[in-house]
Amino acid sequence: MRGKTNTKKIEKHHIEDMVGRIYMSLCVLLLIVIIVSMVYFVASKGIANFISGEVKLTDFLFGTKWAPEADTPSYGALPFISGSFLVTLLAALIASPLSICAALFMTEIVPGWGKKLLQPVIELLSGIPSVVYGFVGLSVIVPFLRDTFPGQGIGVAAGALVLSVMILPTITSVAADALASLPQNLKESSFALGATRWQTISRVILPTTMPAIMTGVVLGMARAFGEALAVQMVIGNAPFVPRSLFESASTLTSVITLSMGNTTMGSTINNALWSMALVLMLMTFVFVLLVRMLERRNKI
Protein backbone atom coordinates (compact mmCIF):
# COMPACT_ATOMS: atom_id res chain seq x y z
CA MET A 1 0.00 0.00 0.00
CA ARG A 2 2.68 2.43 1.11
CA GLY A 3 5.02 1.82 -1.75
CA LYS A 4 2.21 2.40 -4.14
CA THR A 5 1.43 5.93 -2.92
CA ASN A 6 5.11 6.88 -2.93
CA THR A 7 5.61 6.02 -6.55
CA LYS A 8 2.51 7.96 -7.48
CA LYS A 9 3.07 11.34 -9.08
CA ILE A 10 2.84 14.24 -6.62
CA GLU A 11 -0.33 16.04 -7.42
CA LYS A 12 -0.91 19.77 -7.53
CA HIS A 13 -2.98 19.99 -4.41
CA HIS A 14 -0.22 18.24 -2.44
CA ILE A 15 2.24 20.94 -3.46
CA GLU A 16 -0.24 23.64 -2.55
CA ASP A 17 -0.67 22.00 0.80
CA MET A 18 3.09 21.91 1.37
CA VAL A 19 3.61 25.52 0.27
CA GLY A 20 0.81 26.70 2.53
CA ARG A 21 2.18 24.76 5.45
CA ILE A 22 5.74 26.01 4.98
CA TYR A 23 4.60 29.60 4.52
CA MET A 24 2.51 29.51 7.67
CA SER A 25 5.23 27.82 9.69
CA LEU A 26 7.66 30.52 8.60
CA CYS A 27 5.23 33.25 9.65
CA VAL A 28 4.72 31.67 13.06
CA LEU A 29 8.46 31.15 13.41
CA LEU A 30 9.15 34.80 12.65
CA LEU A 31 6.51 35.85 15.15
CA ILE A 32 8.02 33.69 17.87
CA VAL A 33 11.52 34.93 17.11
CA ILE A 34 10.34 38.54 17.31
CA ILE A 35 8.60 37.99 20.62
CA VAL A 36 11.45 36.03 22.15
CA SER A 37 14.07 38.53 21.09
CA MET A 38 12.02 41.47 22.35
CA VAL A 39 11.54 39.87 25.72
CA TYR A 40 15.23 39.03 25.81
CA PHE A 41 16.25 42.57 24.84
CA VAL A 42 14.05 44.31 27.40
CA ALA A 43 14.95 41.83 30.11
CA SER A 44 18.70 42.01 29.51
CA LYS A 45 18.63 45.83 29.57
CA GLY A 46 16.19 45.87 32.46
CA ILE A 47 18.28 43.78 34.81
CA ALA A 48 21.63 45.36 33.83
CA ASN A 49 21.55 47.81 36.75
CA PHE A 50 20.80 45.11 39.29
CA ILE A 51 23.52 42.78 37.99
CA SER A 52 26.17 45.49 37.96
CA GLY A 53 25.09 46.48 41.49
CA GLU A 54 24.51 50.06 40.35
CA VAL A 55 20.98 49.99 41.78
CA LYS A 56 19.57 47.57 44.34
CA LEU A 57 16.37 45.80 43.34
CA THR A 58 14.65 46.72 46.61
CA ASP A 59 15.73 50.36 46.26
CA PHE A 60 14.29 50.37 42.76
CA LEU A 61 10.97 48.75 43.56
CA PHE A 62 10.31 50.44 46.90
CA GLY A 63 12.39 53.62 46.77
CA THR A 64 10.26 56.74 46.65
CA LYS A 65 13.00 59.12 45.51
CA TRP A 66 13.70 59.51 41.78
CA ALA A 67 16.63 61.88 41.33
CA PRO A 68 18.85 60.42 38.60
CA GLU A 69 20.71 63.66 37.89
CA ALA A 70 21.45 64.57 41.51
CA ASP A 71 24.97 64.43 42.93
CA THR A 72 24.05 61.27 44.80
CA PRO A 73 21.56 59.78 42.34
CA SER A 74 18.70 57.63 43.53
CA TYR A 75 16.53 55.49 41.33
CA GLY A 76 13.36 54.75 43.29
CA ALA A 77 10.56 53.76 40.93
CA LEU A 78 7.75 53.42 43.44
CA PRO A 79 6.17 56.77 42.43
CA PHE A 80 5.84 55.53 38.86
CA ILE A 81 4.70 52.02 39.73
CA SER A 82 2.07 53.33 42.16
CA GLY A 83 1.01 56.00 39.66
CA SER A 84 0.49 53.42 36.94
CA PHE A 85 -1.61 51.20 39.19
CA LEU A 86 -3.62 54.14 40.53
CA VAL A 87 -4.66 55.52 37.14
CA THR A 88 -5.33 52.02 35.76
CA LEU A 89 -7.55 50.94 38.64
CA LEU A 90 -9.39 54.26 38.72
CA ALA A 91 -9.93 54.20 34.96
CA ALA A 92 -11.29 50.64 35.17
CA LEU A 93 -13.58 51.66 38.04
CA ILE A 94 -14.99 54.55 36.02
CA ALA A 95 -15.22 52.76 32.68
CA SER A 96 -16.51 49.31 33.70
CA PRO A 97 -20.02 50.26 34.87
CA LEU A 98 -20.44 52.54 31.85
CA SER A 99 -19.28 49.88 29.42
CA ILE A 100 -21.35 47.09 30.95
CA CYS A 101 -24.45 49.28 30.83
CA ALA A 102 -23.72 50.19 27.22
CA ALA A 103 -23.28 46.52 26.34
CA LEU A 104 -26.54 45.57 28.12
CA PHE A 105 -28.30 48.40 26.32
CA MET A 106 -27.09 47.18 22.96
CA THR A 107 -27.85 43.50 23.48
CA GLU A 108 -30.77 43.31 25.94
CA ILE A 109 -32.68 46.56 26.18
CA VAL A 110 -32.87 47.76 22.55
CA PRO A 111 -31.02 45.25 20.39
CA GLY A 112 -32.35 46.91 17.24
CA TRP A 113 -31.48 50.58 16.88
CA GLY A 114 -29.47 50.60 20.09
CA LYS A 115 -26.90 48.37 18.54
CA LYS A 116 -27.00 50.11 15.18
CA LEU A 117 -26.36 53.47 16.84
CA LEU A 118 -24.00 52.61 19.69
CA GLN A 119 -21.75 50.09 17.97
CA PRO A 120 -20.27 52.49 15.38
CA VAL A 121 -19.97 55.27 17.96
CA ILE A 122 -18.02 53.05 20.31
CA GLU A 123 -15.87 51.67 17.51
CA LEU A 124 -15.11 55.26 16.56
CA LEU A 125 -13.82 55.91 20.07
CA SER A 126 -11.19 53.20 19.70
CA GLY A 127 -9.99 54.72 16.43
CA ILE A 128 -9.17 58.15 17.85
CA PRO A 129 -5.39 58.59 18.24
CA SER A 130 -4.18 58.88 21.81
CA VAL A 131 -2.56 62.26 21.21
CA VAL A 132 -6.03 63.61 20.46
CA TYR A 133 -7.33 62.20 23.75
CA GLY A 134 -4.39 63.80 25.49
CA PHE A 135 -4.98 67.17 23.90
CA VAL A 136 -8.69 67.12 24.67
CA GLY A 137 -7.82 66.12 28.22
CA LEU A 138 -5.38 68.99 28.52
CA SER A 139 -7.79 71.52 27.02
CA VAL A 140 -11.07 70.38 28.60
CA ILE A 141 -10.66 68.02 31.54
CA VAL A 142 -7.69 69.74 33.18
CA PRO A 143 -9.28 73.24 33.24
CA PHE A 144 -12.55 71.71 34.45
CA LEU A 145 -10.84 69.89 37.32
CA ARG A 146 -8.80 73.00 38.13
CA ASP A 147 -11.96 75.07 38.53
CA THR A 148 -13.91 72.40 40.40
CA PHE A 149 -11.38 70.89 42.80
CA PRO A 150 -8.41 72.26 44.72
CA GLY A 151 -5.12 71.90 42.87
CA GLN A 152 -4.03 72.57 39.33
CA GLY A 153 -6.30 70.12 37.54
CA ILE A 154 -3.48 67.89 36.36
CA GLY A 155 -2.91 64.64 38.19
CA VAL A 156 -4.16 61.11 38.70
CA ALA A 157 -7.82 62.12 38.38
CA ALA A 158 -7.30 63.75 34.99
CA GLY A 159 -5.24 60.79 33.78
CA ALA A 160 -7.84 58.28 34.94
CA LEU A 161 -10.68 60.22 33.30
CA VAL A 162 -8.89 60.36 29.94
CA LEU A 163 -7.97 56.67 30.18
CA SER A 164 -11.49 55.63 31.12
CA VAL A 165 -12.80 57.05 27.86
CA MET A 166 -10.00 55.34 25.97
CA ILE A 167 -10.75 51.88 27.39
CA LEU A 168 -14.54 52.18 27.04
CA PRO A 169 -14.59 50.58 23.57
CA THR A 170 -12.43 47.62 24.64
CA ILE A 171 -14.63 46.70 27.58
CA THR A 172 -17.89 47.44 25.77
CA SER A 173 -17.16 45.34 22.70
CA VAL A 174 -15.91 42.34 24.69
CA ALA A 175 -18.90 42.57 27.05
CA ALA A 176 -21.35 42.96 24.16
CA ASP A 177 -19.89 39.88 22.43
CA ALA A 178 -20.22 37.90 25.65
CA LEU A 179 -23.83 38.97 26.15
CA ALA A 180 -24.73 38.20 22.55
CA SER A 181 -23.28 34.70 22.76
CA LEU A 182 -25.43 33.86 25.77
CA PRO A 183 -27.79 30.96 24.83
CA GLN A 184 -31.30 32.24 24.24
CA ASN A 185 -32.92 29.42 26.24
CA LEU A 186 -31.32 30.62 29.50
CA LYS A 187 -33.11 33.94 29.19
CA GLU A 188 -36.33 32.34 28.02
CA SER A 189 -36.38 29.95 30.97
CA SER A 190 -35.94 32.88 33.30
CA PHE A 191 -38.82 34.78 31.68
CA ALA A 192 -40.93 31.60 31.73
CA LEU A 193 -40.44 31.38 35.48
CA GLY A 194 -42.04 34.81 35.74
CA ALA A 195 -38.86 36.83 36.31
CA THR A 196 -38.93 40.47 35.22
CA ARG A 197 -36.41 41.82 32.73
CA TRP A 198 -34.34 43.41 35.49
CA GLN A 199 -34.38 40.17 37.51
CA THR A 200 -33.30 38.25 34.43
CA ILE A 201 -30.44 40.65 33.76
CA SER A 202 -29.19 40.86 37.32
CA ARG A 203 -29.69 37.20 38.39
CA VAL A 204 -29.17 35.25 35.17
CA ILE A 205 -27.42 37.20 32.44
CA LEU A 206 -24.80 39.10 34.43
CA PRO A 207 -23.69 36.21 36.70
CA THR A 208 -23.32 33.83 33.73
CA THR A 209 -21.39 36.27 31.58
CA MET A 210 -19.32 37.78 34.41
CA PRO A 211 -16.05 35.94 33.59
CA ALA A 212 -16.27 37.07 29.96
CA ILE A 213 -17.08 40.64 30.99
CA MET A 214 -14.15 40.60 33.40
CA THR A 215 -11.96 39.54 30.49
CA GLY A 216 -12.96 42.78 28.81
CA VAL A 217 -12.19 44.75 31.97
CA VAL A 218 -8.74 43.18 32.25
CA LEU A 219 -8.01 43.83 28.58
CA GLY A 220 -9.06 47.44 29.13
CA MET A 221 -6.78 47.68 32.15
CA ALA A 222 -3.90 46.28 30.11
CA ARG A 223 -4.46 49.01 27.56
CA ALA A 224 -4.68 51.67 30.27
CA PHE A 225 -1.50 50.39 31.91
CA GLY A 226 0.43 50.64 28.67
CA GLU A 227 -0.95 53.94 27.41
CA ALA A 228 1.75 56.60 27.42
CA LEU A 229 1.09 59.75 25.47
CA ALA A 230 -2.39 60.76 26.58
CA VAL A 231 -1.57 60.17 30.23
CA GLN A 232 1.75 61.96 30.02
CA MET A 233 0.01 65.08 28.74
CA VAL A 234 -2.41 65.41 31.65
CA ILE A 235 -0.82 63.77 34.68
CA GLY A 236 1.89 66.36 35.41
CA ASN A 237 4.83 63.94 35.61
CA ALA A 238 6.23 64.88 39.02
CA PRO A 239 8.17 61.88 40.31
CA PHE A 240 6.29 61.57 43.59
CA VAL A 241 3.65 59.35 45.09
CA PRO A 242 0.71 61.78 44.95
CA ARG A 243 -0.94 62.91 48.19
CA SER A 244 -4.23 63.56 46.42
CA LEU A 245 -5.90 62.73 43.12
CA PHE A 246 -5.42 66.30 41.97
CA GLU A 247 -1.67 66.49 42.43
CA SER A 248 0.96 66.04 39.76
CA ALA A 249 2.06 62.38 39.54
CA SER A 250 3.80 60.03 37.10
CA THR A 251 3.32 56.64 35.53
CA LEU A 252 5.88 54.14 34.26
CA THR A 253 5.05 54.94 30.66
CA SER A 254 5.13 58.70 31.14
CA VAL A 255 8.59 58.74 32.71
CA ILE A 256 9.92 56.46 29.97
CA THR A 257 8.64 58.62 27.13
CA LEU A 258 9.72 61.76 28.97
CA SER A 259 13.30 60.71 29.66
CA MET A 260 14.30 58.01 27.19
CA GLY A 261 15.35 60.37 24.40
CA ASN A 262 17.40 62.56 26.72
CA THR A 263 19.52 59.75 28.11
CA THR A 264 22.38 57.88 26.50
CA MET A 265 22.25 54.12 25.93
CA GLY A 266 24.00 52.18 28.65
CA SER A 267 23.91 54.92 31.30
CA THR A 268 22.48 54.04 34.69
CA ILE A 269 19.40 56.20 34.21
CA ASN A 270 18.79 54.68 30.79
CA ASN A 271 19.02 51.19 32.24
CA ALA A 272 16.69 52.22 35.07
CA LEU A 273 14.16 53.25 32.40
CA TRP A 274 14.59 49.82 30.81
CA SER A 275 13.93 48.27 34.21
CA MET A 276 10.63 50.13 34.23
CA ALA A 277 9.91 48.84 30.75
CA LEU A 278 10.55 45.36 32.14
CA VAL A 279 8.09 46.00 34.97
CA LEU A 280 5.53 47.13 32.37
CA MET A 281 6.12 43.98 30.34
CA LEU A 282 5.83 41.70 33.37
CA MET A 283 2.56 43.42 34.28
CA THR A 284 1.30 42.77 30.76
CA PHE A 285 2.11 39.09 31.27
CA VAL A 286 0.08 39.18 34.48
CA PHE A 287 -2.85 40.72 32.60
CA VAL A 288 -2.60 38.05 29.90
CA LEU A 289 -2.49 35.32 32.56
CA LEU A 290 -5.57 36.84 34.22
CA VAL A 291 -7.42 36.80 30.90
CA ARG A 292 -6.48 33.15 30.35
CA MET A 293 -7.71 32.23 33.82
CA LEU A 294 -10.98 34.07 33.25
CA GLU A 295 -11.44 32.40 29.88
CA ARG A 296 -11.01 28.99 31.48
CA ARG A 297 -13.76 29.82 33.96
CA ASN A 298 -15.94 31.05 31.15
CA LYS A 299 -18.07 28.02 30.26
CA ILE A 300 -21.37 29.25 28.98
Binding site: V33, A70, L138, G236, L258, M265
Partner: protein, 313 residues
Protein backbone atom coordinates in the same frame (compact mmCIF):
# COMPACT_ATOMS: atom_id res chain seq x y z
CA UNK B 1 6.34 13.49 14.90
CA UNK B 2 9.36 13.79 12.64
CA UNK B 3 8.06 17.10 11.40
CA UNK B 4 7.43 18.46 14.87
CA UNK B 5 10.94 17.63 16.06
CA UNK B 6 12.66 19.36 13.18
CA UNK B 7 10.36 22.30 13.64
CA UNK B 8 11.41 22.73 17.25
CA UNK B 9 15.06 22.41 16.22
CA UNK B 10 14.60 25.13 13.63
CA UNK B 11 12.89 27.35 16.18
CA UNK B 12 15.69 26.89 18.68
CA UNK B 13 18.30 27.66 16.03
CA UNK B 14 16.63 30.84 14.82
CA UNK B 15 16.14 32.03 18.38
CA UNK B 16 19.83 31.60 19.08
CA UNK B 17 20.73 33.51 15.94
CA UNK B 18 18.31 36.29 16.80
CA UNK B 19 19.56 36.52 20.35
CA UNK B 20 23.17 36.73 19.34
CA UNK B 21 22.26 39.43 16.87
CA UNK B 22 20.69 41.34 19.73
CA UNK B 23 23.83 40.93 21.78
CA UNK B 24 25.85 42.45 19.00
CA UNK B 25 23.74 45.54 18.68
CA UNK B 26 23.99 45.96 22.45
CA UNK B 27 27.71 46.47 22.10
CA UNK B 28 27.18 48.87 19.26
CA UNK B 29 28.99 46.63 16.84
CA UNK B 30 27.52 47.75 13.57
CA UNK B 31 28.98 50.72 11.83
CA UNK B 32 26.56 52.20 9.37
CA UNK B 33 28.55 55.38 8.97
CA UNK B 34 31.36 53.49 7.30
CA UNK B 35 29.16 52.80 4.32
CA UNK B 36 28.37 56.44 3.86
CA UNK B 37 31.69 57.51 2.45
CA UNK B 38 31.42 59.51 -0.74
CA UNK B 39 31.46 57.38 -3.81
CA UNK B 40 32.69 59.97 -6.23
CA UNK B 41 35.35 62.63 -5.77
CA UNK B 42 37.19 63.31 -8.97
CA UNK B 43 39.07 66.54 -9.37
CA UNK B 44 38.02 70.03 -8.43
CA UNK B 45 34.41 71.15 -8.54
CA UNK B 46 33.22 67.55 -8.45
CA UNK B 47 29.62 66.76 -7.68
CA UNK B 48 29.19 65.69 -4.10
CA UNK B 49 27.35 62.45 -3.61
CA UNK B 50 26.60 60.31 -0.65
CA UNK B 51 24.11 60.15 2.16
CA UNK B 52 24.07 61.69 5.60
CA UNK B 53 22.07 60.48 8.55
CA UNK B 54 21.60 62.83 11.50
CA UNK B 55 19.65 62.23 14.69
CA UNK B 56 19.21 63.76 18.12
CA UNK B 57 17.92 66.96 19.68
CA UNK B 58 14.38 67.85 18.69
CA UNK B 59 15.17 71.49 19.48
CA UNK B 60 17.76 71.53 16.71
CA UNK B 61 15.88 69.27 14.30
CA UNK B 62 13.83 71.94 12.44
CA UNK B 63 16.96 73.96 11.66
CA UNK B 64 18.95 70.98 10.39
CA UNK B 65 15.98 69.78 8.36
CA UNK B 66 15.48 73.14 6.70
CA UNK B 67 19.18 73.57 5.95
CA UNK B 68 19.32 69.99 4.64
CA UNK B 69 16.51 70.77 2.19
CA UNK B 70 18.33 73.65 0.58
CA UNK B 71 21.65 71.76 0.67
CA UNK B 72 20.07 68.85 -1.18
CA UNK B 73 18.57 71.25 -3.73
CA UNK B 74 22.04 72.53 -4.50
CA UNK B 75 23.69 69.08 -4.43
CA UNK B 76 21.37 66.60 -6.06
CA UNK B 77 23.70 63.67 -5.33
CA UNK B 78 23.44 64.10 -1.58
CA UNK B 79 20.70 62.58 0.52
CA UNK B 80 20.30 63.89 4.07
CA UNK B 81 17.95 62.41 6.62
CA UNK B 82 17.31 64.12 9.94
CA UNK B 83 15.72 62.26 12.81
CA UNK B 84 14.71 63.37 16.30
CA UNK B 85 15.00 61.20 19.37
CA UNK B 86 16.58 63.58 21.86
CA UNK B 87 20.12 64.73 22.60
CA UNK B 88 21.02 61.53 24.44
CA UNK B 89 19.94 59.39 21.52
CA UNK B 90 21.87 61.53 19.05
CA UNK B 91 25.06 61.36 21.09
CA UNK B 92 24.78 57.60 21.64
CA UNK B 93 24.15 56.92 18.00
CA UNK B 94 26.95 59.09 16.68
CA UNK B 95 29.37 57.63 19.23
CA UNK B 96 28.42 54.14 18.13
CA UNK B 97 28.63 55.02 14.45
CA UNK B 98 24.95 54.46 13.70
CA UNK B 99 24.54 58.01 12.39
CA UNK B 100 26.93 60.51 10.82
CA UNK B 101 25.85 63.51 12.84
CA UNK B 102 24.53 63.60 16.41
CA UNK B 103 22.57 66.75 17.26
CA UNK B 104 22.69 67.84 20.87
CA UNK B 105 21.61 70.73 23.13
CA UNK B 106 24.45 70.03 25.52
CA UNK B 107 28.17 69.33 25.35
CA UNK B 108 28.82 65.64 24.76
CA UNK B 109 30.98 65.58 27.89
CA UNK B 110 27.93 66.37 30.01
CA UNK B 111 25.96 63.36 28.76
CA UNK B 112 28.69 60.82 28.08
CA UNK B 113 30.58 60.71 31.35
CA UNK B 114 32.28 58.19 33.64
CA UNK B 115 32.56 54.97 31.66
CA UNK B 116 31.53 56.68 28.42
CA UNK B 117 33.98 59.58 28.75
CA UNK B 118 36.30 58.22 26.07
CA UNK B 119 33.40 58.10 23.63
CA UNK B 120 32.87 61.83 24.18
CA UNK B 121 36.56 62.49 23.56
CA UNK B 122 36.30 60.91 20.10
CA UNK B 123 33.46 63.23 19.07
CA UNK B 124 34.15 66.45 17.19
CA UNK B 125 31.97 69.41 18.09
CA UNK B 126 30.44 71.73 15.49
CA UNK B 127 28.53 74.60 17.10
CA UNK B 128 25.96 75.81 14.61
CA UNK B 129 23.59 77.99 16.61
CA UNK B 130 22.75 79.35 20.03
CA UNK B 131 19.49 79.00 21.90
CA UNK B 132 18.69 81.35 24.75
CA UNK B 133 16.21 80.41 27.44
CA UNK B 134 14.04 82.85 29.35
CA UNK B 135 12.12 82.44 32.56
CA UNK B 136 8.42 82.97 31.87
CA UNK B 137 5.34 83.19 34.03
CA UNK B 138 1.60 83.31 33.72
CA UNK B 139 0.64 86.90 32.77
CA UNK B 140 -1.39 87.34 35.99
CA UNK B 141 1.55 86.69 38.32
CA UNK B 142 2.32 90.42 38.30
CA UNK B 143 6.11 90.24 38.23
CA UNK B 144 8.48 91.64 35.56
CA UNK B 145 11.85 90.77 36.96
CA UNK B 146 13.34 88.05 39.13
CA UNK B 147 16.83 87.97 40.55
CA UNK B 148 18.96 84.86 40.39
CA UNK B 149 18.41 84.25 44.13
CA UNK B 150 14.63 84.62 43.77
CA UNK B 151 14.61 82.09 40.92
CA UNK B 152 16.69 79.65 42.96
CA UNK B 153 14.30 80.05 45.91
CA UNK B 154 11.29 79.46 43.67
CA UNK B 155 12.71 76.38 41.97
CA UNK B 156 13.88 74.89 45.26
CA UNK B 157 10.53 75.50 46.91
CA UNK B 158 11.58 78.18 49.42
CA UNK B 159 9.31 80.78 47.83
CA UNK B 160 5.84 79.43 47.15
CA UNK B 161 3.77 82.57 46.59
CA UNK B 162 4.16 85.35 44.05
CA UNK B 163 3.52 87.98 46.78
CA UNK B 164 6.92 87.09 48.28
CA UNK B 165 8.63 88.45 45.16
CA UNK B 166 6.36 91.48 44.78
CA UNK B 167 3.58 89.94 42.71
CA UNK B 168 -0.03 88.97 43.18
CA UNK B 169 -1.19 86.83 46.12
CA UNK B 170 -1.12 83.63 44.12
CA UNK B 171 0.53 80.28 44.79
CA UNK B 172 3.44 79.47 42.48
CA UNK B 173 3.06 76.44 40.23
CA UNK B 174 6.34 75.21 38.73
CA UNK B 175 6.14 73.87 35.16
CA UNK B 176 9.46 72.10 34.78
CA UNK B 177 11.30 69.94 32.26
CA UNK B 178 12.30 66.35 33.07
CA UNK B 179 15.59 66.20 34.96
CA UNK B 180 17.37 64.62 32.00
CA UNK B 181 16.35 67.44 29.62
CA UNK B 182 19.00 69.59 27.94
CA UNK B 183 16.88 72.73 28.29
CA UNK B 184 16.58 72.17 32.02
CA UNK B 185 20.31 71.49 32.32
CA UNK B 186 21.00 74.81 30.57
CA UNK B 187 18.52 76.73 32.72
CA UNK B 188 19.87 75.23 35.94
CA UNK B 189 23.51 75.77 35.01
CA UNK B 190 23.29 79.39 33.81
CA UNK B 191 20.18 80.86 35.43
CA UNK B 192 20.13 79.08 38.79
CA UNK B 193 23.77 78.06 39.06
CA UNK B 194 22.71 74.93 40.90
CA UNK B 195 20.94 71.67 40.22
CA UNK B 196 17.45 71.43 41.63
CA UNK B 197 15.46 68.45 42.74
CA UNK B 198 11.94 67.83 41.58
CA UNK B 199 9.40 69.18 44.03
CA UNK B 200 6.25 67.42 45.04
CA UNK B 201 3.36 68.87 43.07
CA UNK B 202 5.54 70.36 40.34
CA UNK B 203 4.69 69.62 36.72
CA UNK B 204 7.07 68.22 34.13
CA UNK B 205 6.37 68.47 30.45
CA UNK B 206 8.48 67.27 27.59
CA UNK B 207 7.66 69.62 24.76
CA UNK B 208 8.06 73.38 24.68
CA UNK B 209 4.59 73.72 23.14
CA UNK B 210 2.94 72.00 26.10
CA UNK B 211 5.01 73.97 28.59
CA UNK B 212 3.88 77.23 26.98
CA UNK B 213 0.25 76.14 26.91
CA UNK B 214 0.32 75.13 30.58
CA UNK B 215 2.07 78.32 31.73
CA UNK B 216 -0.43 80.41 29.78
CA UNK B 217 -3.42 78.60 31.27
CA UNK B 218 -2.36 77.78 34.82
CA UNK B 219 -2.70 80.59 37.38
CA UNK B 220 0.60 81.34 39.09
CA UNK B 221 2.65 79.14 36.76
CA UNK B 222 6.37 79.67 36.19
CA UNK B 223 8.66 77.89 33.77
CA UNK B 224 11.25 78.54 31.10
CA UNK B 225 11.18 78.54 27.31
CA UNK B 226 13.52 79.09 24.40
CA UNK B 227 13.23 82.62 22.99
CA UNK B 228 11.65 81.37 19.77
CA UNK B 229 8.61 80.15 21.74
CA UNK B 230 7.82 83.41 23.52
CA UNK B 231 4.60 85.26 22.74
CA UNK B 232 1.81 87.18 24.46
CA UNK B 233 0.21 84.17 26.14
CA UNK B 234 3.07 84.10 28.64
CA UNK B 235 4.97 86.82 30.49
CA UNK B 236 8.71 86.93 29.80
CA UNK B 237 10.64 87.74 32.96
CA UNK B 238 13.82 89.79 33.06
CA UNK B 239 16.74 88.08 34.71
CA UNK B 240 18.61 90.21 37.24
CA UNK B 241 17.25 93.22 35.38
CA UNK B 242 18.46 92.06 31.96
CA UNK B 243 15.90 91.52 29.25
CA UNK B 244 16.25 88.18 27.46
CA UNK B 245 16.64 89.59 23.96
CA UNK B 246 18.79 88.47 21.06
CA UNK B 247 21.00 91.56 21.39
CA UNK B 248 21.66 90.91 25.07
CA UNK B 249 22.52 87.28 24.36
CA UNK B 250 24.88 88.19 21.53
CA UNK B 251 26.68 90.78 23.66
CA UNK B 252 26.98 88.31 26.53
CA UNK B 253 24.89 90.38 28.97
CA UNK B 254 22.19 87.72 29.22
CA UNK B 255 23.82 84.50 30.42
CA UNK B 256 21.14 81.84 29.99
CA UNK B 257 21.99 80.34 26.61
CA UNK B 258 23.54 77.20 25.17
CA UNK B 259 25.14 76.10 21.95
CA UNK B 260 23.37 73.75 19.58
CA UNK B 261 25.94 71.12 18.71
CA UNK B 262 26.29 68.86 15.72
CA UNK B 263 28.75 66.12 16.66
CA UNK B 264 30.65 63.87 14.29
CA UNK B 265 32.62 60.79 15.26
CA UNK B 266 36.17 61.86 14.46
CA UNK B 267 36.76 64.26 11.58
CA UNK B 268 33.81 64.20 9.14
CA UNK B 269 34.07 62.77 5.65
CA UNK B 270 33.83 64.99 2.60
CA UNK B 271 30.06 65.06 2.26
CA UNK B 272 29.37 65.56 5.96
CA UNK B 273 32.04 68.25 6.13
CA UNK B 274 30.50 70.05 3.17
CA UNK B 275 27.12 70.02 4.90
CA UNK B 276 28.54 71.23 8.23
CA UNK B 277 30.43 74.00 6.42
CA UNK B 278 27.19 74.92 4.71
CA UNK B 279 25.48 75.19 8.12
CA UNK B 280 28.03 77.87 9.05
CA UNK B 281 27.71 79.91 5.86
CA UNK B 282 26.04 83.31 6.04
CA UNK B 283 23.21 81.93 3.94
CA UNK B 284 22.15 79.57 6.72
CA UNK B 285 23.37 81.56 9.72
CA UNK B 286 21.56 84.76 8.73
CA UNK B 287 18.75 82.95 6.93
CA UNK B 288 17.35 79.72 8.37
CA UNK B 289 18.91 80.19 11.82
CA UNK B 290 17.35 83.61 12.40
CA UNK B 291 14.12 82.70 10.68
CA UNK B 292 13.57 79.71 12.98
CA UNK B 293 14.28 81.70 16.13
CA UNK B 294 17.81 80.58 16.91
CA UNK B 295 20.74 82.93 17.33
CA UNK B 296 23.60 82.54 14.82
CA UNK B 297 26.70 81.06 16.42
CA UNK B 298 28.79 83.31 14.21
CA UNK B 299 27.20 86.46 15.63
CA UNK B 300 28.10 85.69 19.24
CA UNK B 301 30.55 88.17 20.76
CA UNK B 302 31.36 85.78 23.57
CA UNK B 303 32.18 82.11 23.61
CA UNK B 304 31.82 79.52 26.29
CA UNK B 305 33.71 76.28 26.90
CA UNK B 306 32.43 72.99 28.27
CA UNK B 307 33.10 74.08 31.87
CA UNK B 308 30.95 77.18 31.44
CA UNK B 309 33.81 79.70 31.29
CA UNK B 310 32.77 82.66 29.15
CA UNK B 311 35.38 84.63 27.22
CA UNK B 312 35.01 87.69 25.01
CA UNK B 313 35.83 86.96 21.43
Amino acid sequence: MQFRKSWIMALALTSVVALSACGNSNNGGNNAAATNTPTENSGSGAELSGSILASGSTALQPLVEQAAESFMDANSGVDIQVQGGGSGTGLTQVAEGQVDIGNSDVFAEEKLKDADAEKAAALVDHQVAVVAIAAVSNPDAGVDNLTKQQLVDIFTGKITNWSEVGGADQAIQIINRPSSSGTRATFEAFALGTKTEDLQGSVQEDSSGTVKKMIGETPGAIGYLALSYLDDTVKTLNYDGVEPSVDNVVSGDYPVWAYQHMYTNGEPNEVVKAFLDYMLTDEVQNGDVVELGYIPASAMQVSRDVDGNVTKK
